[in-house]
Amino acid sequence: MGFLSALLQRWRGSAATGDPRLLPEAQLTGPMPWVIAIMIAMTVVAAASGLALRNAASTASADLEGGVTVQIVTAAPAERLRQSAGVLKALRAAPEVAEARQVAQEELNNLVEPWLGTRPGDDVEALPIPALIDVRLKGAATPSRLAALRAIIVPEAPSARVDAQAGWLAPVFAAIGAMQWMAGGLIALLAFATISAVLLASRNALGNHRETIEIVHMLGGTDRQIARVFQRSMAFDAAAGGLAGLLLGIVTIVALSRQFAGLGSGMVAGAVLRWPDWIVIAAIPLAGVGLAVLTARLTVLAALRRML
């Protein structure tokens, strides 16, 4: 932080002009900027994770929102074929259906291949695999719409199963929701830890400068004047730490996103950060500075009130 330190020293110097130079300005030698840098970096990573998970869930949910799968589970191939054709015709005639497509046998074979194998002698086509019809509704697959679909399908295929695709991923969405709450909880804990660190640092600084504070009080200095000095000092430390933490956090996010991109999974592909998310992430150091300054101010004012 050599250059940063020098830059901040100049900034401090210009900011101090015209202010009562009541207390020595803290240098960037204390642990505070580093503590804040670590807190901000962890907050940035936690927030980015939470936002990416939200985006993944949102993308998957949007994809699956109007999706319905119809399974024709009749064992006899000819009957299955007949029922499939009937259901497909009925669905395409239904006004709330945007699209209905029978999943090709080749696609079905590919789906079951990992479990049933493709070695010589395997006869996948001999298995009574249900016929699948992929349906896209014009709106979300609500229970009432599913019931309406069933009413259309059952006359053509009495044993057909109709499932909303979003329902299959409900446990995944629940898990993502829980992870988002965890990220939020982690951010709250980090904020609490930052407040505690600032509180301790402020009390320590007050103890170190107690004699000067008493002199300034005797000369007619107000609590607010003294608190401003501590606030400004903390603002500089928090700004330096926040900037460093933001950079560290972004490097971590980029590295992690590259790792996850390599997985090539459909749901993970949706876990990207959009530009509003980057604005939120960029605002984290600012929030950190605000939190640190407010904590320092309240701590110092509370301590000064106990002095005459």
């Binding site: 005797m218 007619g220 004047q225 009130r305």
Partner: protein, 248 residues
């Protein structure tokens, strides 16, 4: 000369104790009037510094009434203390200079605290430092100044804002006789401009150099005349001038 009823300070049966110890000051009653020059004398440990602390609002009394500038200082809300303190210049016995500030910045501190702009600070502070013989030590930190130089910086800091009342605790203890006399003349100049001056000192010669001064003597935490006959100034000061100082 101010009217007798326009007192600047009034102590009435004031007592001070630290914790549960015995009273450092007891039954202190006196009145200070604007524009007067007061000496506070007494042996070491008599309570002079404690009495001055009450005067410059660094300490609250354990009992009694203190009125300062016409206001009850005991019940004064804490947020109003800075305004009162800005009207009082203090020379501390141990100087209490701010170690990280230069002589210039130490002297400028009361003006900066009062919100005076930088352009209005430079000239008076430099002139004041010149006057106390430290024009060439403006940028020196307290640690590099001698005891006498530190004392002069402390005095310059106390008077720079032209306070209504100047309280000085042994202000000439560390300076040579010539400088002591010069500083005394500074106090007198301020006094002539209307500042009430209260100087705690052992120095009899110093007291005798200000014949118009009024003297309060502390003995073991009490003003030496509990009947009030020697209370300074007298309850009805003569219109022509102050009482002559008694033999010490």
């Amino acid at each position: 000369m101010s009217q007798p009823d326009a007192e600047i300070v009034q102590f009435d049966n004031v007592g001070l104790r630290y914790g549960t110890g015995k009273e450092i000051l007891a039954d202190i009653s006196f009145t200070l009037y604007p524009g007067r020059f007061y000496f506070l004398t007494g042996a070491s440990g008599a309570g002079k510094t404690s009495l001055l602390k009450l005067l410059y609002l660094s300490q609250r009394p354990s009992r009694g009434l203190i009125r300062l500038f016409g206001t009850d200082a005991i019940t004064l809300p804490r947020e109003r203390l800075p305004g009162f303190r800005r009207r009082i210049g203090v020379v501390f016995q141990d100087f209490r200079l701010v170690s990280h500030l230069s002589a210039f910045d130490n002297v400028a501190l009361p003006l900066r605290v009062a919100g005076v702009s930088e352009k209005d600070i430079t000239r008076p502070v430099s002139e004041m430092l010149d006057w106390v013989g430290l024009g060439d030590r403006q940028h020196a930190r307290p640690a590099t100044l001698s005891g006498g130089e530190q004392q002069r910086v402390a005095i310059a800091r106390a008077v720079i804002a032209r306070p209504d009342m100047l309280v000085a605790d042994e202000p000439t203890g560390n300076v040579d006789p010539d400088m002591a006399l010069k500083l005394l003349r500074l106090f007198e100049s301020l006094n002539r401009l209307g500042t009430t001056v209260v100087v705690a000192t052992h120095d009899v010669h110093l007291i005798r150099k200000v014949p118009e001064s009024l003297i309060m003597r502390l003995d073991k935490g009490r003003l030496s005349d509990p009947t009030g006959a020697l209370r300074y100034p007298p309850r009805r000061p003569a219109a022509t001038g102050a009482a002559a100082p008694p033999p010490l």
